[in-house]
């Protein structure tokens, strides 16, 4: 069964460094998302992406964050200058065409900022 994959599974970085989290969505999906989950808290929406542009972003998704779909398969989240509070699990999700279809989540990247 097709699934969303994410790399790396774990990332440790120093505060102020840039990180790029990578995702390969399910191949025929057209909508892409990033969510994050701080330890012990709820899953929070960051950004949605469709037709090569951001369709919606949350307050969390400030100028430090950016997303890109550099080729036909990858979908990346870049954090330009990481802060301690960026430490969280970051989940990529994708869905097929159609608003009322479910999102399928990847296994996540655990980011730790020291």
């Amino acid at each position: 069964e097709p699934e969303v994959t994410q790399t790396p599974s774990h990332q440790v970085t120093q505060m102020g460094q840039e990180v790029i989290l990578r995702c390969v969505p399910i191949s025929n999906h057209l909508y892409f998302y990033w969510y994050r989950q701080i330890l012990g808290q709820k899953v929070e929406f960051l950004v949605s992406f469709y037709n090569n542009e951001i369709s919606e972003k949350s307050e969390i998704f400030d100028d430090q964050f950016s997303v890109e779909r550099p080729d036909g398969s990858n979908f990346t989240l870049k954090i330009r200058s990481t802060k301690l509070e960026d430490s969280a699990m970051y989940f990529c999700a994708s869905k097929e065409q159609g608003i009322q279809e479910t999102q399928y989540f990847g296994p996540g990247t655990r980011l730790l900022v020291l």
Binding site: V4, Y31, V43, M89, Q100, T102, Q103
Partner: protein, 111 residues
């Protein structure tokens, strides 16, 4: 402001019984609602989706109801098993396709 509440953080039941989890929401008109399972350190795994014009959905031992008047969804697991122990997340979907999650309910099924 929008609020999604899932009943008690933790629910403990005996194997074989039916687990019922609740998701209530306020100041929100979802187009659809999803239930996910999440195990520690893992991503949410999709279980069921129910649309605003649907009342009930079933899949094997799972059943979801959706009452847009009460602003509530109930998630039932019948004949529960220890392997059903996990955190269950309610997620409301809007017409832009974005999902807003509740805090989750941690279910423990005791043998």
């Amino acid at each position: 402001s929008q609020k999604i509440e899932q009943n008690s953080e933790a629910l403990n039941i005996q194997e074989g019984k039916t687990a019922t989890l609740t998701c209530n929401y306020t100041n929100y008109s979802p187009a659809y609602l999803q239930w996910y399972r999440q195990d520690p350190g893992r991503g949410p795994v999709f279980l069921l989706l129910i649309r605003e014009n649907e009342k009930e959905k079933r899949k094997e031992r799972l059943k979801v109801t959706f009452d847009t008047t009460l602003k509530q969804s109930l998630f039932h697991i019948t004949a529960s098993q220890p392997a059903d122990s996990a955190t269950y997340l309610c997620a409301l979907g809007d017409n832009a396709g974005k999902s807003t999650f509740g805090d989750g309910t941690t279910l423990t099924v005791k043998p």
